[in-house]
């Protein structure tokens, strides 16, 4: 890979580091409250459900369902110009949490609400791996 990666990169900080380090190992891990068991996407210090600071980072199945999708024709980021129109999906993981991502290896017309997906891991730079999904049904 000699071409520089031109899309926006995540801002990794002390709160979200476990998430990004897990992705580099090709594992999906999200914060879960050790007190009440509520899983969340955002790595807030306190559990929004009960206020506990006691957080664990379990590994998830990586399986889910497309909750919705949009096809971006407008180019908001230069790094996406060559791929437009590109897909963005909102995936609901089987564990309940929703997150935005992209479907890889499918035409935009195939990307529909209700389709089953599974996680795949895109090593976009030596430091950063993004969580993406592919269709499985």
């Amino acid at each position: 890979m000699s071409v520089a990666y031109r899309k926006p990169l995540p801002v990794v900080d002390s709160r979200n580091r476990p998430y990004w380090e897990a992705l580099r190992r090709h594992e999906l891990r999200l914060p879960r409250c050790a007190a009440c068991g509520t899983l969340r996407f955002a790595p807030f210090r306190h559990c929004p459900a009960c206020g506990s600071e006691d957080t664990e980072w379990p590994q998830l199945s990586g399986r889910g369902t497309i909750w919705s999708r949009a096809i971006f024709h407008q180019v908001y980021f230069e790094g996406f110009r060559d791929e437009a129109p590109y897909n963005v999906v909102l995936v609901q993981l089987d564990e309940g949490v929703k997150l935005y991502s992209n479907i890889v290896g499918a035409d935009n017309a195939e990307i529909r609400i209700g389709r089953r997906v599974e996680a795949c891991f895109d090593d976009v730079t030596p430091e950063v791996t993004l969580l993406k999904f592919r269709l499985v049904d």
Binding site: W67, A70, Y76, V88, L130
Partner: protein, 381 residues
């Protein structure tokens, strides 16, 4: 004091709007000042009468007071988010009812067009800064979030882009009758369908405008308003609710639950029902928001808003003429503020070719993570 007793206690005495469009060289403060002076003149008042001030989208209330020579008893500022329009007006009504001020100027100034405001990309702060976490996937902009909500609605209920087109065309037809509107060229359903996709399934004509302008309203007690230059327009009901806890993704219910609660409260406070409404002002940042609001506020059943608008209900001459100014889609992107002014002007009978005959009650509805509604009446009760 019960909520019912607050109905009709506060009135709008003056409204003012600047020119809308591209107004280079004017700051948000400049536009707000112009609108405020117009609204005060409309009420037959001067700056010296103002003892309450709420500014919105104007970044600095302190500088605004320096620029206008105001020393209000009551001062507040709200962020430049459309959802704050309804909340700010409710805040002013409560401050007047509680005696914290007698004449409250609500002042909104927006120089976003000339200043190059962006609602997607690196500068996107829709609802806060949290959205940047999705930039690596190319996810950005309130429009894309609404596109996903609409895609979901279409999946569940069979709603189509043609239903959205009906909204865009109806509001454009209203703007054609409004000499102050930014977009006055008529459009057809085909024009809507042929406009380019931004975040598919939404087309360009599903999106609001971005333009400069200022809006102001002068609120005072109903009693005092009766002595002013224009007939008072009474604030008969107001309510709000939120769906903020899981705001990083669109709501499962299209904001139906907070809207239902707001509807119940606002009609009870105003002592009227949906059937009493002469016109509706629905926050139209994107066409799907109009559908969600009609369902959430009970104008049609859940999932039936597409066929409901297809009957032409929102057009002038329909059962509920909506956004008679042209709304955000075709009049001006004044983030809810100008829709409230249009409600007042309709009830005063000042709307010329777009006037709804014998307008008695107009309802403002705002669908967003903060839902709000205000019912304006020609009579105090």
């Amino acid at each position: 004091m019960t909520r019912r007793e607050l109905s009709g206690v506060v009135a709008v005495a003056g409204v003012g709007t600047t020119k809308f469009g591209r107004l280079p060289g004017y700051s948000a403060e400049d536009l707000g000042i112009e609108a405020m002076d117009l609204a005060l003149a409309d009420a037959g008042l001067g700056r010296g009468d103002v003892d309450g001030l709420i500014v919105s989208r104007i970044p600095d209330y302190q500088q605004f007071c320096e620029m206008t020579g105001l020393d209000p008893r009551y001062v507040q500022i709200t962020p430049g988010q459309g959802r704050m329009s309804g909340s700010s007006i409710q805040m002013a009504a409560l401050a007047i009812a509680a005696g914290q001020c007698d004449v409250c100027a609500l002042v909104y100034g927006n120089n976003g067009r000339s200043a190059g405001s962006k609602y997607g990309g690196e500068a996107d702060r829709y609802g806060g800064a949290g959205g940047s976490v999705w930039f690596p996937y190319g996810m950005t902009s309130p429009g894309a979030a609404h596109a996903m909500q609409f895609e979901r609605h279409a999946h569940l209920y069979g709603t189509t882009s043609l239903h959205l087109a009906e909204i865009a065309v109806a509001f454009r037809n209203h703007a054609v009758l409004n000499p102050d509107a930014v977009m006055r060229q008529p459009i057809t359903v085909e024009d809507h369908q042929n406009s380019r996709f931004i975040a598919e399934p939404l087309h360009l004509f599903d999106y609001c405008l971005i333009n400069d302008g200022g809006v102001a309203l002068i609120l005072t007690s109903a009693e005092r308003a009766r002595d002013m230059a224009k007939p008072p327009v009474y604030i008969r009901g107001f309510a709000q609710a939120s769906a903020l806890a899981d705001v990083y993704v669109p709501p499962e219910d299209f904001w139906r639950d907070p809207m239902r609660r707001v509807a119940e409260e606002v009609y009870a406070m105003a002592g009227v029902t949906r059937d009493d409404m002469s016109a509706l002002m629905i926050y139209d940042n994107f066409t799907p928001t109009v559908l969600f609001s009609l369902e959430g506020f009970g104008f049609c059943k859940p999932g039936e808003s597409g066929p409901f608008v297809a009957e032409g209900q929102l057009r002038l001459g329909g059962r509920f003429p909506t956004n008679t100014s042209g709304g955000h889609l075709s009049d001006s992107y004044m983030q809810g503020w100008a829709l409230n002014v249009e409600a007042v002007r309709q009830l005063r009978g000042e709307c010329g070719d777009r006037q709804v005959k014998d307008a008695s009650h107009v309802q403002f509805m705002l669908g967003s993570p903060i839902v709000s509604s205000i019912i304006y009446g020609k009579d105090p009760r």
